[in-house]
């Protein structure tokens, strides 16, 4: 019985495949390109849903603003996995949609996926978020943009330091990678600049989006006496709502979550991706050379702070505004020596000042004194 089935299936498939290949829609590429012939076609790729109240939403907000620019078509695709998927999506955007500027927004798209595609399509610009673009190592049509959001986490910490009564802060992180550690450290240092006795309790959930784990972590921290929480996960929604429900304070991250926590939201560290997006789009439209390495903090407009919430005291506002002004002038150094990690070792020698652009910071692998936790 089964012996006779398969040859027909296989033969039929081969016939079908041959027919399809032979009947390739010739005008396919031409028709598609015609639909966007006179406009700059931009592709934006998200690793998660656009409306996650977090990382992807911050990117989508910038994309939405770009859409309004004249002469621009923006095509977005969400929930693209960091595998061969994203290579094919990028290829599809270039070949089938005629895109010439692509924003792969998730860190994991950089190596090897984007690099392979960039080598394949040298005329297309690839602007990656967060990757460590290095001249000479990576192709000239790739680049990365990122913001020093740790400046905002520092300010979060300052406000948290003023507001906390128990002197115990909490930080829920997804993975202990340098970008996250930098935030944890900046938050703690900001709080300890207000009161050196403040400690930050760290919980690592293990992955970028685990709502139940994040809720458990929030409750766990609160049970331990924490009264201000912040986080670095893809979608802070659960953590912010959990904190509000239990009546403690929360500092936001990625995007503005104040709507979710009207009483407890102090302030938040937000991305302002429209700045690098606009730079890249304008350059693409005018034909200017592609800017490979874009970094900036509060001063350059790559990040911003959410408006203060109700619970923030005037003293806190004054101190935080003062520091923010110094940061806007480029005068403020967060990571300077002597700095010890939470095991007592000196990680930044006395007298050393690390500016935000210093590449050493992008390889951070320690937790500063005052953080309760291990990586």
């Amino acid at each position: 019985m089964s012996k006779s089935i398969q040859p027909i299936t296989r033969r039929t498939w081969i016939k079908q495949a041959a027919a399809a290949a032979a009947g390739v829609a010739l005008g396919d590429g031409m028709v598609l390109r015609a639909f966007a012939a006179d406009k700059l076609v931009i592709g934006v790729i998200y690793v998660g849903p656009r409306d996650d109240y977090g990382y992807n939403q911050a990117q989508a907000q910038a994309a939405a603003m770009i859409k309004k620019m004249p002469g621009v078509t923006v095509l977005e695709q969400e929930k693209v996995a960091e595998t061969i998927d994203v290579q094919k999506v990028m290829g599809s955007m270039v070949e089938q949609d005629g895109a010439t500027l692509i924003f792969p927004t998730s860190f994991g798209y950089f190596d090897p996926h984007m690099l392979i595609m960039a080598a394949k399509y040298p005329k297309v610009r690839f602007a990656h978020c967060g990757g460590l673009w290095t001249a000479g190592k990576h192709p000239a049509n790739t680049g990365s943009y990122f913001g020093y959001i740790d400046e905002c986490q520092y300010l979060n910490g300052v406000v948290a330091g003023f507001t906390s009564k128990s002197k115990k802060l909490g930080f829920i992180a997804a993975k202990p990678i340098p970008q996250v550690l930098r935030n944890i450290n900046a938050f703690t240092m900001g709080a300890r600049s207000v009161d050196p006795k403040i400690t930050t309790q760290l919980i690592i959930t293990g992955d970028w989006s685990l709502p139940v784990k994040e809720a458990e972590a929030t409750n766990s921290l609160i049970d331990q006496g924490v009264d201000v929480i912040t986080c670095h996960v893809d979608s802070p929604k659960v953590i912010v709502e959990g904190a509000e429900r239990r009546g403690i304070f929360v500092c936001g991250y990625h995007a503005n979550q104040s709507a979710l926590a009207p009483k407890g939201y102090l302030t938040g560290a937000e991305w302002n991706w429209i700045t690098p997006y606009t730079t890249h789009v304008k350059d693409a439209m005018s034909g200017a050379p592609f800017k490979n390495f874009l970094r900036g903090g509060l001063k350059e407009g790559y990040v911003k702070m959410s408006p203060y919430g109700k619970a923030v005291s005037d003293a806190a506002k004054k101190k935080a505004d003062g520091i923010q002004a110094a940061m806007m002038k480029g005068d403020y150094v967060i990571f300077k020596g002597p700095l010890k990690d939470n095991a007592g070792k000196v990680v930044i020698a006395a007298g050393t000042s690390l500016k935000q652009t210093d590449p050493v910071l992008e390889q951070m692998n320690y937790l500063v004194e005052g953080v309760m936790g291990k990586i």
Partner: protein, 306 residues
């Protein structure tokens, strides 16, 4: 807030057991009914997610979280009926249909749920059982949702019903020997479809707990396999509703062990702690099964034991 130190861990585990166990409880009770009648429904994951989405959407639209719960149950009822009807056709494999339903239910829920990720829906209230204590952590741990209490009552009710009512006997008979049931004049497929529908109703309610109480919002990563775990739970509980309750508590507690330990300073190996419930189930299944009396108490008609 008083600093409890290491005492924080068992309290957090207790709190987690009370909180996180509720979806497990409802889904496993529903699957218990389904499997007692001789069907296995692996699509509960899809029904759970669909219930979460429907509950949240209904609560947002009507402003009442309890309406959301009922709507979620209704959505689960529909999907359960779909499963039951398809499996009633001869030669259809119920395990495969379950996997298909899991895919379909999840996809459908994500699709329809897009507009509900941003808005904030009213959530279910909690009953504070811990107010006798002045310790805030105990108060928080003992904040219990009414659904949890309903679930406990349901577990005992089902156990009693399976033993003492005519309906319970019919279900068990259909599950143990469809020939005997047919001989008695009962339509086997109808009974099974009704049981699967009831199972879907409970699973939908379990899902609504996730979106309307804990974690209390709708998003696409809400479920991490709870529906599938509940199927394991039922086998682990030997198809006894009251055992399902204990097993659900165990799972809920095991799930909050990781974060609880981290908050007192035990930080390494958090992935392994997160795997605790699964290892636990596997261990207990290995310890209690044997080729001779494997799955004692299993309904005879269940496809996985035949």
């Amino acid at each position: 807030m008083t600093d409890l130190g290491w005492w924080g861990v068992p309290i957090a585990v207790l709190g987690g057991a009370l909180r996180v166990s509720t979806p497990f409880l409802f889904v496993s009770l529903g699957e218990c009914i389904t499997e007692k009648s001789g069907r296995i429904n692996l699509g509960l994951e899809g029904i759970l997610v669909m219930g979460a989405m429907t509950g949240y959407a209904a609560s947002y639209t009507t402003g009442s979280p309890w309406t959301g719960v009922i709507a979620a149950g209704f959505a689960g009822l529909l999907l359960g009926t779909l499963h039951g009807l398809i499996c009633s056709l001869p030669r259809v494999n119920d395990i495969a249909v379950g996997i298909g339903l899991m895919l379909f239910g999840t996809g459908f829920a994500f699709f329809l749920g897009k507009p509900y990720v941003q808005p904030k829906a009213p959530t279910l209230p909690a009953i504070a059982f811990g107010d006798w204590s002045s310790v805030p952590q105990i108060q928080a741990a003992l904040k219990v949702n009414p659904l949890f209490l309903i679930g406990i009552a349901l577990a005992f009710l089902l156990a009693w019903a399976f033993r003492n009512t005519r309906w319970g006997l019919v279900v068990r008979m259909v599950g143990d020997s469809s020939d005997a049931a047919r001989a008695m004049g009962y339509r086997v497929n109808t009974v099974r479809t009704l049981c699967t529908a009831a199972g879907g109703f409970l699973a939908g309610i379990g899902g609504s707990f996730l979106s309307l109480y804990y974690p209390g919002s709708w998003s696409e990563g809400l479920s991490s396999g709870q529906g599938l775990m509940a199927v394991a739970l039922v086998i682990f509980a030997r198809w006894q509703p009251v055992n399902c309750f204990y097993a659900a508590l165990l799972f809920g507690g095991a799930g909050s062990l990781g974060p609880a330990l981290q908050s007192v300073g035990v930080t390494s190996g958090y992935y392994l702690f997160n795997a605790a419930p699964y290892v636990l189930t596997l261990g207990i299944m290995i310890a209690t099964c044997s080729t001779r009396r494997s799955l004692a108490g299993a309904p005879g008609e269940l496809s996985i034991v035949k």
